[in-house]
Structures are given as C-alpha cells and as structure tokens.
Point group: C2
Chain length 477, copies 2
C-alpha cells in the first residue's frame, strides 16, 4: 500500500456504488481487512467514530436510568436452545467452540450472537420481588454471526454493538421502555448522525426471533436502498416464562416479568458513509467527526506560518475537535486527504493571510470557501459546524422524502422498481403470504409499518383484500 | 437469594481468606456466577468500577499519544502458530472454534488469548516507511484463556482487559515505551487504586511468551500473597522478523520494527478487594469508588428529612459521586449495605441534625465519625475523601514494607515461609535452575528483579555462586 494511494481517485459512486463504498472504507483508513474471513480491523479513525457514538449513546442510556454490565462471551448450547423461536433464528449463524484447553468439550459453547439467554438466566437469579424491578441493563460488546457474504460495517462476522436488556413489572412498562429506546435511537440518528429515519413497527415476518413485537428506525442510503438502523424488541413475558423469571408483586402474588431488548451496532458507520459520502470520499457530520476542523498551513516553511497555525489550533481546541497537518506533504495532498477522511472544515492559513489577519475556511460537504477575519474565528467556526450539521440532515431528508413512491397494485410496484431503486409505500392486508409474494417478485422487503400512517386506499397492494396498514418497502442492505 | 443476605455476616478474613473473598465479590454485588464454567457476570456495581478504571487509564494512554483500535476476536490457527515461543505459551489455554454456520471449518479459529499475532499481521500491512512510525495502538476487549481453576476477577476463563501494541523505529524507543507504560501503570496503582507496587523486571522463566524482556508491577494482598498487577513487554525485533514488519528508514534502508505490548485487566478489581477489604466487606479508595458518598436519611418519614437529604445530595454532587438511599429499609440495614459495598463516606442526617444545622459523616475505612456543620459540608467532604485515599495507600504501603524479609540461604527462605506468608528478598545468580529449585521447595515464585536493588550479599541464596541481582519472591495468585 503506497502512501500516495489516498490521493488516487476512488471509484465514482454513480459508476459502481459498491466499489465506491469499499474504496472509501479503505482509503479513509476506517478499516483494514483481517486474516479472518468476514472480520475487519477497526483502525484508529474508524474506532474514534465508534467511540463518539458510544459516548453519546451511553450518556443517553445512563440519563434514562440504564446501567452497564458485562455478560460472558460464550453461551452453553443447552441455554441457547431453551427458547424455541430464538434458537431457530440464530442456530444457522453460530460459531461453535468444541475444544477448550486441548480437550473436547462435554457441552459445546456458542460464541454469543446476542445475549438474551444469558440476561434471562441472570435475571432469573437476581429478581425476586417487585422491589427489584425494573432492571435496566445494557452492555457494550462484540457479537458473532456466521455470515456468508460480508461487507465492512454493513455485514461482518463479528461486529461491535450495544445490547440493552430490561425487565419490568407490567406489560405497559415494557412497551413504554421499547418506545423510549426507539426515541433515543431516532434522536441520535437525526441529531448526531444527521440521518433522517422512519420509525415504525416490523411485520411478523421481519420481527426478532422470539419477540412479541419489534420496532425499528429505517434509513435511506444514497443509492436509495434501505438500512435498518436499530431495533427495539418487546418480548412480553415469553422469555420470562421459558426462563422462570418471576417476582412477587405488591399483593404478594407471583408474576412473570415483562422484558425488552434493543441494539445498535457499528453498522451505523456504514450508514454514515452511504448517506453523506461523495466522490471525494467520506463526509462526516460535525457531531460525529473525530476531527471537526483541520488546520493546513500554506507555505509552511515560511517564517511564522507554522507558529500561527499552531496558535489557531490552540484557540479553536476550546470549541471543537481540531487537528493540524504539519507533515511534509504538499497542501494539495493534505486537502485531498482531509476530504477523503470527511473532515467537516478545513482551515488554510499562509503568509498573505497572516498579513491580512485572516484565514480561509472550506466546507467539506459543499466545498464553499469563506475568507474569515481571525478576530471572529471562534464565532464563524461554531456557526459553520452547526450549519453543516443542519444542511447534511436537510439534504438527506430531502433525498428520503422525495424517493418514497406510492403503489396501489403489484404491477405498479414492480414497474416503479424496474425503473429505479426507491422506497415504495402501499396498503397491506397483514398477511405474511402477500409479504412473501412481494419479496419474491420485487426483492423488496417490508421495512416497517410507520408510526405515521397514511391512508393510501383500503385494499392490499398484493391480494386486493381489505387493508388498513401502510407499509414501507425497499431493497435493503 | 434473599434481600437480607447482604446483612448476614460474611466469613471472617482471618478464618478463611478465600471464602471471605468469595463472599465479598458476591454480596457486594460485583459479580454473579454464569452458566459458563469459569466465566462471570460483571454486575452494574462491578462494571462501574471497571468503567472508572477504563476512563482513567484511557485518558493517560491518549495523553501519551496512543490510539484505540479493534482487532478481530478470532485468530486463524496458522497465524497463532507463526511465532514459536508465543504459540507454546498459549496453545494449552486456547478455546477453539471448529464449526461455523453449521459447517466444519477448513481452518480452526482460536478465540484470542491475546492479540500480538493480529497486531503484527496488521502492522505488516500498514507500515512501510519511518514516517509511519511509531504506531501506538491499544484495544479494550475481552480475551479467553482456558483455566482449570478459576476465581472471580483473579483467574477467569474470559476477562476484560486493555492490550497495547506498539511499533517503533529503534530498540531504544521500544524500551522507552515499555518503561513509560510501566510508569503509567504504577502511578495508576498508587494514586488511583491506592495500592503500592514494586516495579521490576521479570526473570527469563517468568517473562511473556515471545518477549525479549517483561517488566511488571507487583503488589501484596492482605494475606501477604503477591498479585501481578500489570506487565509491559519489549519484543525487540523478534516478532517483526517473524511477521515481516519492515520499513525504509531515513537512509532508505530496510529495517525491522521494534515492538512492545502491555496490559492490565479486571484482575485489578480482585487486587482492590484483597488489599483494602475488611470483615465488613469491600473498602473502595475514593478515586475508584462508583459512589463516593451515600446519604442515609434517619427517621426518613419525619417531615423535612428526605427533602433535606436530597438537597444535600444535590449540593455534594458537584464535588463527588453521590447517591442517596431512599429505600424503605432500616438505617441499620442501609449502613451495612453501604459498608459491604465499600462506599468511602456515609452521611447520616435526621431531624435532630437538621435542627442543629449539622450532619454526621462516617468513614468506611476506619469507621471514624464526625459531626459536621452543614455550612462547611463541601470542604469537609472533599478533605475527607482526599484523606481516606491517602490513608488507604499509607496503610497498604506499611503492610507491604513490613512484610518483605531478607533471606541468605535456602534454609532460611524455607523457615520464614513456614512461619508466615510474606515476600522474601534474596540475591540470585541468574540461573533458572536455582529459580526452579526455590519454587519446588517453597512454592514461592520470583515476582521480579526490582528496579530499586539492594546489596544483600554477593552470593546466590540457592547455589551459593556469585550473584549480583536481588529478586523478590512470593506465593502468588
């Protein structure tokens, strides 16, 4: 890998979106491929994005009363098998440890694909009374799912995520928790990642293995395909009955706990890339950018330039995450690299600027240039970072809103998707057979039944029978 | 598990230290046992201590230029086998994945016991020139080692840790890095965990599998056994030669990189328990206590008491991590629980205190009580927290210093250890055969060759041949 590779052009996104994506993740130094099939190395720049995601979400979870714990990496096979639907959902994707300490194991251990069963086992141990509820636990960890076709961030054999698992006294409380978390997710997507989402409920076919209901936030990528952004599941008391999670209520009666689980993963980074990126590389919303502004000194070896650049960096570090590129590369090379890495603002300062008491700011998202008096630098930078964040969201929102097409028949549905990839909204009768038929004919899956329903008609797009649910469909990552 | 279990007495530490330890980890709600042999559930209170450890160390690593990354959980068997000494050290302890996606694997995957091989593979990919050096990477993750006998925190099949891996241009830089990290560890132990350490170098027998030299911080538990606190390894260019990590230097000549690795783990929490704990449970140094002060309202249902208690909690939350126990349990129960959990300060406030404008503060470590005017509360609490931290360190330091005995013959060595467990310091010739003989005769192992050497004599404690190294020996966890 040559040091110059980053300024070589990346594949044009209109020519080959998949190759563009692969070029960006590699050349922005987010990841490296690893010697393990389907597993990636998260490099410092990629991991720094994940750390910002963690910091923001973790504080929201804690503000709403959640506590972090850590469960084992392994699940005994018999424990995973306790809940029928759950094991059916995950068994095909498991990595299995059969040897430990050079001896074959009596019981095989599954590398956790998700930790419902471990949390349930623990809850059965520690919950006795209504006084012990609610339990609002979360863990940050990695999970393993044996995927055949993998792509960095979007589908990897191992990925980093958070998984929340809660237990409550009543069905109402569990449902409220499920929706509260969905709000945390959608606010995070919209305000921090600048990615608009559609909030809704998954159909029976698409819900989580073992859940009573699954809620989701769905987003649209630049290529108009869908990415499931995060899910929040209400288990009712199904898992509690299987695992014996009981408590004595205020009337001294034995009751089953009601549970939820919810998670988001490093997949979000794939979403950031595919929503905001362009043909010069990554474009990061300021709120999630490890470096929000990079100072590039021009004619760096002229007297006073580097000192001034460092002074500016110091000043701005009180209001933003700032870096300086002092390497011996050319300014052009530095600009390209800063663009590839999606740094929201570039600050150029050279001898002439210093003479005039000014500098140049360049926005990554639209390349607009501003000549700024150094005296008002803090105000201008703060305002621009806020503006970039807002503009990125507005652009993505327009993209989403203008690419959802209604369809009233399966023929119309197919012909729209034959012309272009987009989201389709239709009425649906609620029958899984219709859902399957649509998937087979169009390869679009139901993304969700949005909370914001519209009355597009009163019959199912597929079978023509009475229908009162609107569904959003799309081809998905 | 009854709600009252926590106020039942725990085993006396003088009667059965191991059982006392087990009681404390369970009843202070640090961990729960899991359905996987040798793996534990880190409960919210235990994980909160780990989060404080992470926050503090992570900031020190970042201040000194280190960046976080994430490497895969799995290591292909062939990659682990590349470095001969390394694989010999870890092969007996491996958990092995042989099945993925319901198919037997072509190549078995080892669940990482440590990640040197993955970092080396990655470094070989990304290092080309001296401009790419140093690489100062760290990762926070869990690792798996198939241990036969496990104890919570001290020796578990899976544990959480950080592992730093760095690559440098020169041998000198690698050595400086190894020692810089050892300083970060020893400062952390002494200033944050209030645990005094002996810094030194490991013998050939005790060094890390594949390292050129291993440095360590060693600490003494309450039972005078040793706990290895953290290690920092200099690999020289051995791994670089095996994995082909080469760079062109400033003279355009191809060179091998020099590497280090270093780590500390959740084992530190075992150290905190065994250094500071007492017969009432955990004792946490304020700097690592998730709750530094707990407010216990007395006669809580009398008018104004709970309001006042909450007001005090609010006031103090600007200077400390504060909690309030508003549960309907008795004050006595609350005192016991706060003691079991090792909360450094307890604040009692009842109707009479309020009348007099005062409250009572009780130190966890020595149970000293203070009547404090509410007007000066912030100053008193701040001062007491600092004092407790200092006193805990001083007490542990005295315990360490007064329990290291010199020995000049193997007979003396044995007879000291027959009387009491303690550390032994002796001269040593440097021969591994003597080290082995001492271990077999006394079950004490060489903890380290301390940086602060003393001249106890000029012959080896074991063979009587000339010796110029002083070694600290001890029975170890």
């Amino acid at each position: 890998m040559s040091k110059d590779i980053k300024i070589e052009a990346i594949t044009d996104m209109e020519t080959d979106f998949a190759q563009w994506y692969t070029d960006v993740v590699k050349k922005a130094e987010l990841i490296d491929y690893s010697p393990v099939r389907g597993c990636m190395v998260l490099r410092p720049y990629g991991y720094a994005i994940w750390e910002l995601i963690q910091k923001e979400l973790d504080s929201k979870f804690k503000e709403s009363g959640h506590e972090n714990v850590y469960m084992p990496l392994f699940i005994p096979e018999s424990l995973l098998q306790k809940e029928k639907d759950h094991v059916e959902g995950f068994a095909p994707e498991c990595a299995v440890v059969t040897i430990g300490g050079q001896e074959p194991l009596n019981e095989r251990l599954i590398v956790r694909p998700t930790s419902e069963t471990l949390f349930c086992d623990h809850y059965a141990n520690i919950i006795e009374s209504y006084r012990d509820l609610p339990k609002l636990y979360n863990q940050w960890c990695s999970v393993v799912r044996w995927e055949k076709n993998t792509r960095p961030f979007l589908r990897t054999m191992e990925f980093l995520w958070q998984e929340g698992h809660t237990a409550h006294e009543t069905a109402e409380e569990a449902e409220a928790e499920t929706l509260k978390i969905l709000d945390i997710y959608s606010n995070f997507y919209e305000n921090i990642l600048a990615i608009p989402v559609i909030k809704g409920r998954k159909t029976e076919r698409e819900k989580f293995a073992g859940a009573k209901s699954t809620y989701t936030v769905e987003s649209m990528m630049h290529d108009k395909k869908a990415l499931q952004g995060g899910t929040s599941h209400n288990f009712g008391d199904g898992f509690a009955k299987t695992f014996g999670i009981q408590f004595t209520d205020k009337n001294n009666k034995l009751q089953y706990a009601h549970q939820t689980s919810w998670g988001v993963s490093t997949r979000m980074i794939g979403g950031i890339i595919m929503v905001h990126g362009d043909n010069n590389g990554l474009v990061l919303p300021p709120n999630i950018a490890p470096i929000q502004l990079i100072v590039v000194p021009i004619a760096m070896h002229k007297e006073g330039v580097l000192d001034k650049a460092k002074e500016i960096k110091e000043r701005l570090s009180f209001i933003a995450r700032v870096s300086i590129d002092e390497s011996d590369k050319s300014p052009g090379w530095k600009f390209s690299e800063a663009e590839m890495k999606g740094i929201p603002l570039r600050l150029e300062i050279g001898p002439k600027d210093i003479e005039k008491g000014q500098c140049v700011l360049v926005r990554r998202d639209n390349r607009e240039k501003y000549t700024i008096q150094l005296s008002s630098l803090e105000n201008e930078v703060s305002a621009l970072l806020i503006k970039i964040q807002k503009d990125l969201f507005a652009k993505a929102k327009k993209h989403l809103d203008s690419n959802i097409r209604p369809a009233t028949s399966i023929q119309e549905f197919e012909s729209i998707l034959n012309e272009e990839t987009c989201f389709i909204k239709t009425m649906w009768c609620g029958d899984g057979a219709c859902e399957l038929e649509i998937k087979e004919k169009t390869s679009a899956t139901s993304r969700c039944m949005p909370f914001e329903q519209e009355e597009l008609g009163d019959v199912c797009v597929c079978c023509g029978k009475p229908a009162n649910k609107m569904v959003i469909w799309g081809k998905a990552y």
